[in-house]
């Protein structure tokens, strides 16, 4: 680990690999969530499987949490080192003249996503842990859909989620394609990777926002 922290390229690779891992996880998470809009039963089945399968719970979940922690801790280390590398600050620095806003503000879009993850863990993960291991309730494979809808009843939570998805979109807009460059991939496929990044960075957060809004408004309309 100390060797990793010592090399700038190794730090970058840790950032890129954990980022790509989170991108893959996000696609899976989105797929499962989207079933809640199509079929509550399917959503319940998936959720129950994820909640009680020992491989998911005791292998994949810790790996995911480690991935998130490694990513944001390394992000903060990079930010501190990069600030120090400037030394005396410029009186005038025109960052917008040569680099896009999203690429210069990854720490801020990341910080909002991190704050969101705090809320999201409190909302769903902590609730699950309490349900299963503290209150030791019996298994109930049909509760997930109703619980999710209930979560999105307050407008403030729905709004906070939607704003966070907006910032996630900005984070991915730069981050996804950037991780390929970090891994040493810059060739004739790069324009395709950049285009795919743009589609992914818009479609996935937009989809998540749609799901949140759907569960907020669906019960009001019906």
């Amino acid at each position: 680990m100390t060797k990793l922290i010592q090399s700038s390229i190794a730090r970058k690779v840790v950032m890129a690999l954990s980022g790509i891992f989170l991108v893959l996880f996000l696609a899976l998470h989105f797929t499962i969530n989207f079933t809640s809009v199509i079929s509550p039963d399917t959503f319940n089945e998936f959720s129950h499987f994820m909640g009680y399968n020992p491989v998911v719970q005791f292998l994949m979940q810790p790996i995911l949490i480690a991935g998130v922690v490694i990513h944001f801790v390394m992000g903060i280390i990079l930010e501190i080192q990069n600030n120090r590398a400037r030394g005396v600050k410029y009186v005038q620095f025109k960052g917008s003249a040569n680099a896009p806003w999203v690429s210069r503000n990854m720490i801020y879009s990341g910080a909002v996503v991190l704050a969101f993850l705090g809320l999201h863990f409190y909302d769903f993960w902590l609730h699950e842990m309490a349900f299963k291991y503290v209150e030791v309730n019996p298994e109930d494979p049909t509760r997930y859909y109703a619980e999710t809808v209930e979560k999105f009843a307050p407008i403030w939570r729905t709004v906070l989620y939607v704003i966070s998805f907006g910032l996630l979109s900005l984070h991915l807009w730069h981050g996804f394609a950037s991780s390929f460059q970090t891994m040493g991939l810059n060739n004739k496929y790069t324009p395709a990777i950049v285009n795919f990044t743009k589609i992914y960075a818009v479609a996935i957060p937009l989809g998540f926002a749609f799901i949140a809004l759907y569960h907020h408004f669906n019960p009001i309309i019906h």
Partner: protein
């Protein structure tokens, strides 16, 4: 043209500097930016004041010495040029122009606008060379066939003049574009492959020791580089570094 200048003045490395205001009249569009500073310095000397120290040598865009941060950008508002190639016609009558030294912890200010870029020399010395026996048995370079494409890419990388604009432009003060150009120019050629593993490991290690920041792929360096050094070189260096690390 009448021009208002805000220029960084700093007595020596140990002193704290500050921005000082100057006003200049009768500036012509055809004057180069450095000529404008020459005229200002003549005025200062005539008045018995200390002239503004700034670095320059060739004044034709090939040596990379003229390190000026002009209006928040290395080498000023135009791209693909050094500060000596910038002309006053890029500015308008009544403009305020700020001039600062390139800023990086690894490039400490020596005086006024002059910075110490020996950090780049040390990166170069760590591996930016090939070991050739020059004791009278030098083999003709053309005796080794090289693909045209690789020769071209190597040549483009070798165009880096070590000016430091990439570091100055980067929000992280990262020296990845410079180092990657110096790694790439050899990595692409058969003569350079022999020492490729040690070269990339040693040059990146030196770059880190000097205290440059971590690249976050903003691409500012590529936009500001007067020689158009491409980000592809950074990807190549990362590849080289990763495979060299795995080899151990």
């Amino acid at each position: 043209m009448k021009i208002y200048l805000k220029i960084w003045r700093q007595k020596d490395a140990a002193s704290k500097g500050k921005m000082v205001d100057y006003t200049m009249e009768g500036i012509e569009g055809d004057m180069s930016f450095l000529e404008m500073l020459d005229i200002l310095n003549e005025e200062l000397i005539t008045k018995g004041e200390e002239p503004i120290e700034f670095d320059h040598d060739c004044r034709e865009g090939i040596c990379g010495t003229c390190s000026l941060q002009i209006n928040g950008r290395p080498h000023g508002p135009d791209t693909m040029i050094t500060a000596c190639q910038l002309h006053m016609r890029s500015f308008n009558d009544g403009d305020t122009i700020t001039i600062e030294p390139f800023r990086a912890k690894a490039f400490p200010v020596i005086k006024d606008l002059i910075i110490d870029r020996t950090a780049f020399d040390r990166i170069q010395q760590a591996g930016g060379f090939i070991s050739v026996n020059t004791s009278g048995h030098t083999i003709d370079a053309n005796s080794i066939p090289i693909e045209k494409e690789k020769a071209d890419d190597s040549f483009y990388a070798a165009a880096c003049i070590g000016c430091g604009a990439c570091v100055a432009a980067c929000k992280n003060a990262s020296a990845m574009l410079f180092t990657s150009a110096k790694v790439s120019q050899f990595a692409l050629l058969p003569q350079g492959r022999v020492e490729a593993t040690d070269r990339v490991l040693n040059m990146v290690r030196q770059m880190d020791i000097e205290g440059f920041g971590n690249c976050t792929n903003t691409g500012a360096c590529e936009v500001e580089c007067p020689k158009g050094i491409s980000l592809e070189n950074i990807a190549r260096m990362n590849r080289e570094y990763l495979s060299a690390s795995l080899k151990g």
